[in-house]
């Protein structure tokens, strides 16, 4: 995988006494201590994070945790006090912290586009003039600009609104204009600073879905700032949690939910519905940890209600439930099955926990088996595994 943005030990301090503050950061001082001693505000300290091409990396934290500060270092809206911010620029890698003005402008025009929380639209311009802003600043000729702007407006379903002024649109539409403006420059890297926070919940969900759809097609590298964990879990391929200017934990969404690094993260995820994040893979017991019977039989659950006979290739040869032969059925078909025949449901590692639970519900809390792509048996989920995952115990 190619690295698109690489933060290396980034410190950001707002204020005059940069050297003094940096020394305090090195000594491990907190934001409050630095503020008291030097009068400077610590934006972020020692932040290292790698964002790969094509992924959505979410920066999370309470307000003031430094997430926006770090994001805005990518296009130098915030000046980095120390460290490197490496951004992919075609075949080259540019350090935004030290590059000259001309390079920075080129990056901003062609490589890194941004979407703002407060939309940042120019109220005296029409929708199409707003969308064309980046292209106009980059000196793209008018004919080409018009063509590209209209393509973007179509993409976000705003082509009928192109002649309206920005303030005549609803909040959700205004942010779609903001999105179109960012897409119009065809920059491969997209910075999104709490883009949906100012919108009401229904519109927010809708725009998240739209973003995911567009992303499936456009494959941008997106760095997304959010204070809403549900949002982060929904759209993020990686989540980075920040507190007081420092990175606390980085990982895949389920890592964060299953293995919170400290109490701050635990508080964060306390109200998250684990069903929206977890998959069968996250909660299963590995095949090797299951209780082995004789003749290749394996018990799927601790209560010994259900067992599989596994052949040499790892495939299931026979199944038994409550001592009677049973058939094994995919969880995907759970709705269409009659409840009469003795069944054992199976899932893929990527199947959502919710579907697994539905299957358990249908089968009177029988365990659910896990098969890989080649239908080999890899593990099982019992009712206790589900309960402990949901209760996080």
């Amino acid at each position: 995988m190619t690295v698109a943005v690489d933060f290396r030990n980034v410190d950001i301090v707002f204020g005059a006494d940069q050297a003094g503050s940096l020394a305090m950061i090195d000594a491990g001082a907190t934001r409050a201590e630095i503020l008291e001693k030097t009068g400077n505000v610590l934006g972020c300290a020692g932040a290292s994070l790698t964002v790969n091409e094509g992924e959505i990396s979410v920066l999370m934290g309470l307000s003031g945790s430094g997430k926006s500060t770090l994001l805005r270092a990518v296009n130098r809206l915030n000046v980095v006090s120390r460290g490197q911010v490496l951004v992919k620029d075609g075949d080259k890698i540019v350090d935004v912290v030290t590059c000259d003005q001309a390079t920075l402008r080129r990056l901003r025009q062609k490589q890194v586009a941004m979407v703002f929380q407060q939309f940042g639209l120019l109220p005296w311009r029409t929708v199409e003039e707003n969308v064309g802003l980046g292209l106009e600043l980059a000196g793209v000729p008018e004919a080409e600009r018009k063509e590209r702007v209209h393509r973007q407006l179509k993409l976000v379903n705003l082509d009928q609104w192109s002649k309206k002024y920005a303030h005549e649109l609803s909040g959700g539409m205004q942010q779609r204009v903001g999105l179109a403006r960012a897409f119009a420059t065809e920059a491969p890297i997209l910075l999104m600073d709490e883009p949906f926070s100012a919108l009401d919940p229904l519109i927010r969900t809708k725009l998240q879905d739209e973003l995911l759809q567009l992303q499936a097609e456009l494959k941008k590298t997106i760095i997304f700032v959010s204070h809403d964990l549900e949002e982060a879990l929904k759209i993020g391929s990686h989540i980075t949690i920040m507190e007081g200017g420092r990175i606390v934990q980085t990982g895949a969404p389920e890592d964060i939910v299953l293995r919170p690094a400290n109490d701050y993260v635990r508080d964060f995820i306390a109200n998250v519905n684990p069903l929206s994040v977890l998959t069968a893979w996250n909660v299963m017991r590995d095949r090797r940890d299951l209780e082995q019977g004789k003749d290749g039989w394996v018990w799927l659950d601790r209560r010994k209600t259900t067992r599989f006979k596994i052949d040499d290739h790892g495939l299931v040869a026979a199944a038994e439930r409550d001592g009677k032969p049973a058939v094994w059925v995919s969880c995907a078909d759970v709705e269409s099955q009659s409840e009469e025949a003795a069944q054992v449901f199976w899932a893929n590692p990527g199947t959502s926990l919710k579907t697994v639970m539905l299957a358990m519900h249908r089968s009177q809390t029988a365990p659910v088996a896990l098969f890989d792509d080649q239908s080999r048996f890899v593990g099982a989920i019992g009712i206790r595994d589900v309960l402990s995952a949901v209760l996080r115990r």
């Binding site: 940042g120 005296w124 600043l137 980059a138 420059t185």
Partner: protein
């Protein structure tokens, strides 16, 4: 007088004398330059007035009404402007009104030409604004009569010194409102401009100035109104126009003349105010 006050009076700081010496130095050494400047300016202003007076008054009134229509796209306004100007022609004050109009428009234009760049500069550099602020206060609050005297000694009598006095009085408003407009451009749209790679000048022309335009236009309207209020003072040092009529009315206690000229100024003020109100009630 008590001894302390007496002591202080005995050691009076000779500000007046210093000022006098300074202006004496200017007149002694650069008199020709100031006079040449003044003559040139007088020539320009008088020339403009004469050209406008060659046009038949009703035709000129129609042209101004046409400009009003072009600026505001409002038929009632254009008709109102035309009727107002007809009233002035009817009062036999057309020549004076044209003189005043030229002076006011020239002063407001000059004040904007100087004040807007200064205002932008001050908005970008807070330190500059801190230095500028007391000077602006001085220009606005120093009684007009006080700087009539040095301007008179440097530039002599005529339209030119009248114009200069008016400009001095009006510039602070242009600077202040431009500063206000540029400073209050929302940070979010400035960042949007920066994030998409605007240069400093692109940021100024495509983001800051359009955003500040309504305030700057309010500055223009204010400049014109303040210029009109200076007409009477400018007339004291020889600027022609409606101000001269009013001074004459005052000197000879002629209520009728004063009323007529005063009303003409009011009509002119309303006409110019309505014509230059751009961006306030316009597109929104």
């Amino acid at each position: 007088m008590d001894p302390i006050s007496q002591f202080m009076v005995d050691h009076k700081i000779p500000i007046g004398a210093w000022g006098k010496a300074f202006f004496g130095f200017l007149t002694d050494n650069f008199d020709t330059i100031f006079r040449a400047f003044s003559n040139g300016l007088n020539f320009l202003l008088d020339g403009l007035v004469n050209i406008l007076l060659m046009v038949p008054p009703v035709l000129l009134a129609l042209v101004i009404a046409g400009i009003a229509w072009l600026l505001q796209r409002s038929r009632p306004l254009a008709i109102g402007v035309f009727l107002g100007l007809i009233f002035i022609i009817n009062q036999n004050l057309w020549k004076q009104t044209v003189q005043t109009l030229v002076l006011v428009v020239a002063a407001a234009a000059m004040a904007m030409a100087i004040g807007v760049p200064l205002g932008i500069w001050a908005a970008h550099k807070p330190k500059v604004y801190r230095v500028m602020l007391p000077v602006l206060d001085l220009m606005q609050t120093l009684p007009t009569f006080v700087y009539l005297i040095p301007v008179l000694t440097l530039f002599g009598l005529g339209n030119a010194p009248g114009l200069i006095v008016t400009i001095i009085f009006v510039i602070p408003t242009a600077v202040r409102l431009t500063h206000l407009g540029v400073v209050s451009v929302p940070k979010s749209i400035i960042e949007a401009g920066e994030a998409f790679g605007a240069t400093k000048s692109q940021l100024l022309w495509k983001v800051e100035l359009p955003s500040a335009l309504p305030t700057i236009m309010a500055g223009l309207t204010q400049s014109i109104m303040l210029s009109l209020s200076m007409v009477v003072f400018a007339a004291l040092i020889g600027a022609g126009g409606l101000g001269t009529e009013i001074n004459r009315a005052l000197g000879s206690r002629r209520i009728d003349l004063g009323l007529e000229a005063g009303l003409a100024i009011v009509v002119l003020a309303i006409v110019l105010d309505r014509m230059t109100r751009i961006g306030v009630g316009g597109k929104k």
